[in-house]
Amino acid sequence: MLKVFKYTLLDLTRNRFVLGYALLMLVIAQGLFMLEDDPFKALLSLVQVVMALVPLIALVFTVVYMYDIQEFTQLLAVQPIARRAILGGQLLAMAAALLLAQAVGLGLPLLVHLPSKASFILSVSGSGLVLVFAALGALIALRQREKARGVGIALVVWLLLVIVYDALLMWGMFAFSDYPIEPFVVPVAGLNPIDLARIMVMLEIDLAAMMGYSGAIYRNFFGSTMGMVAAAAIMLMWVVVPTWSGFRAFRRKDL
């Protein structure tokens, strides 16, 4: 697995998509910090960008790359190595390349302009999102034979988790506003990895105070050790379940 990882990563270090991602994040992050006088305001804007852009890029990149290396995967699959080693190496390399690009594009400006715990939480949450959406992207590519359809499904998944999920949640809160539903909103929001990442950063910036009763509930739950553990477990589940399903699909996949 380590050999597949090593050579796939070597290929990815010169991949234009990965380099472009690093550059794009660097330009956005640096631009926001330069435009805003208050670095915390820049951080807030950056949170919104990260929560929308990171899942999209991780998903689309993973899906496209998995299709692009299909013939090469076939070549590896006729060597005396197990398929789990091939997929494991490729997934690790893709995740590592994206994380490296993000460390340069997002981590570096955060470290230079706002070295704080909030920046650290944003970096960690962003990294978590990379892993979650890379795993989802790989699963889509492994389950769907056609590239165009795979990319289409990836975009639908992104739309569902970034926009539709929140829209439905807000509609529910509005429709049942006469009832004390906010305690139920916390776990439902927490099930979406993007919302979960956003909540963790918001709590650290203390923006939860401006969110009224919901913010207080978030703080009570996710601010505790138990809440942090639950958040990490949910994030981990979002990585483990698609990855495990991907390995199952790849074991007997016709190449």
């Binding site: 050999k3 597949v4 070597l10 991949n15 290396i69 070549l75 699959a77 060597q79 005396p80 016709d254």
Partner: protein, 252 residues
Amino acid sequence: MAEARITCTGLSKRYDKLWALRGVDCTFSRGEVVMLVGPNASGKTTLIKCLLALVHPTEGRIHLDGTTIDARGPVPHPGYRERIGYMPQISQFPASLSIRQLLEMMADIRGGAEGGAEDSLVEELGLTAQLDKRLSTLSGGTKQKVSAVLALRMRPDILVMDEPTAGLDPVSAKRVLSRAAAVRDAGGTVLITSHLMEEVESLADRVAYLEDGHLRFLLPVSEILERTGVSRLSQALPRMLEANARPMSYAG
């Protein structure tokens, strides 16, 4: 009859509603070249992909040097592919690696047992000067040459080539095929798919004809010519098909 190395029994493969292979029974032996021929989408590539466990059979089984690939059985241990060389129909490699890096990588992945970029076939196929070129910049023919090197350099006992000369210049094609013949002469089993009858005539010990996923016949070249009473395979094959209008499974 030479010792059987690969035996397919009732081998079938279905992709959704399409049967790519239907009940194929055949045996491939040591020290022979079997050319797989037939129209497009007749099941040639699916048959060799089944042997390599790239696709999983829907029914039937394959015995290959003590390893069983069974439609209902577990995935075989990858170790059985140690002595198999495979040259696919389409060669695509990681775009940003050079030929040298690719060759080193494959040697590394296979445990470094076979030659590196200094391999004589690299020189024979005129790849020496291009070793440091990125794979994304290579022409289709050059990629085919790289693919041939990858398949042949580990001195395989079983060599599987899917239309190996498609896109190759005549000199390189001849060199690749002579290497395949050398594998046969060393006691190896060679399976090649081809649409070029001159190629089949020059190299084949036996010919397997597939159509609509059925194995129509698997016979020695001499027997095909004898049965049809002609001297060229290009004339003999249509006559054989007329004579065997119904699909058959023939182990040869």
